[in-house]
Symmetry: C2
Subunit: 248 residues, 2 copies
């Protein structure tokens, strides 16, 4: 039986990969994805690893669908969760535009620990109350829409998780994000820079919004901005950051 | 060495529990939580299971902190992810208000597959673009704030995930939620009722907002409302629901 499974490898540590994802990888004939994610799957006899470049999501999705149509057992890997700014939507875009046969494939999405949940856990529980999740890259949507969403999210007093805050090709977007937040929120607002969570390069930095600078984020950073209610618990080690369950 | 780990058991299936959570449960002397979640941990020699009632979060958190202070290895269990409307914030509320010794404990939060990610995966990828996550219970915040957040989220065109849509003690809240959504969104908007995902009682229902009724949700239902961009792919089986990565 052929199939296509779109799976999440979690943020980095093998100990955060779910058993159902591990089982899918064990049964696969082909694994498809961005090179560094494909390399997280150990090579073995009977498994072909197809690594491709960052900007090739649709071509990669089409190749995966075609392989499943040819009778293979194909796993498409994403970091984190495949449904949060990752390969699941890319596969469904390709599926909708593609050959009618693709629609009859056995397709499953297997969730993973998203970067946002892993970062939140490391800091404490900053997403413990209502929150939103925004991709700050303007590659696939206009900056005006990002700014509108930031302002409305601040007015709703959501905590916010930001994906793709900053890259070499988009050096100014996160600077503008901080300007919008400074305009909408008080300077004491808590902001968390969680980089490469669960990998050897992990770092967690907690600062006040007024002290945040663009260079604190890069492409491996998940940024969380607290709501008005978010609090810090000081202790000997790093402070704990959490958002209470109640609003009076 | 004593410690306190606040862990997520995922939505229901054992195959979605991460290895690091399983390891914590294997090493624990005590497991603490709401009765049905504690019962998901198999009994064994050397492990005491402390089940408590739904409304007892703070008392339960205090008991867990006190046990860790007494030298025990304590796991606090939540369903889904412990940082999303679950026990992590309750433990930190108790910690902040409690004895100074509690702050020096070795405390970790171990993320889990949240109901929202599991529900999204089963439907396709409805959370594949910017989204928000709102707890619809007005036990811990005023209804006016929920309504404000719903309206701003609709204006931001976020997809939305709703926790705790409806219970016997709150029969009208979800009815009012649907009224607000009908007021802000077009009747064709996609709404997903994902009940008891990954358990034997799982059901996924996809309807247009204009056809949604309050009885479609209960306390075991995670509700996802698509954005304006969310699309359905029809095929022989259940349709796939996804939100594209781009907005023109």
């Amino acid at each position: 039986m052929s199939w296509l499974k779109i799976v999440g490898l979690g943020p980095g540590a093998d100990s955060m990969i779910t058993p159902e994802v591990t089982a899918a990888l064990d049964q696969a004939t082909d694994v498809v994805g961005y090179v560094p994610y494909v390399e997280r799957v150990a090579p073995r006899a009977g498994l072909t690893r197809h690594g491709s470049d960052n900007r090739e999501e649709i071509r990669r999705a089409e190749a995966a669908l075609e392989m499943a149509c040819d009778g293979r057992r194909v796993v498409v890997v994403s970091s984190g969760d495949p449904g949060v700014f990752a390969m699941a939507s890319a596969v469904f875009e390709a599926l909708e535009a593609g050959r009618p046969e693709w629609r009859e494939l056995d397709i499953q999405v297997l969730p993973g620990i998203s970067a946002m949940l892993a970062a939140s856990a490391r800091a404490g529980a900053p997403l413990g109350h209502d929150f939103c999740c925004i991709n700050l890259s303007d590659n696939l949507k206009p900056w005006a829409l990002i700014e509108k969403r930031l302002r409305l999210a601040a007015q709703a007093d959501f905590a916010m998780a930001f994906y793709n805050p900053r890259s070499k090709s988009r050096p100014v977007g996160f600077e503008r994000t901080l300007e919008v937040l400074i305009d909408e929120c008080e300077p004491e607002r808590v902001i968390i820079f969680a980089r490469a969570v669960s990998t050897p390069e992990e770092s967690i930095r907690v600062v006040a919004l007024g002290d945040a600078t663009p260079e604190m984020a890069d492409m491996r950073t998940l940024v969380i901005v607290g709501s008005k209610q978010t609090r810090l618990i000081e202790r000997s080690g790093a402070p704990l950051v959490y958002t209470p369950r109640s609003v009076a």
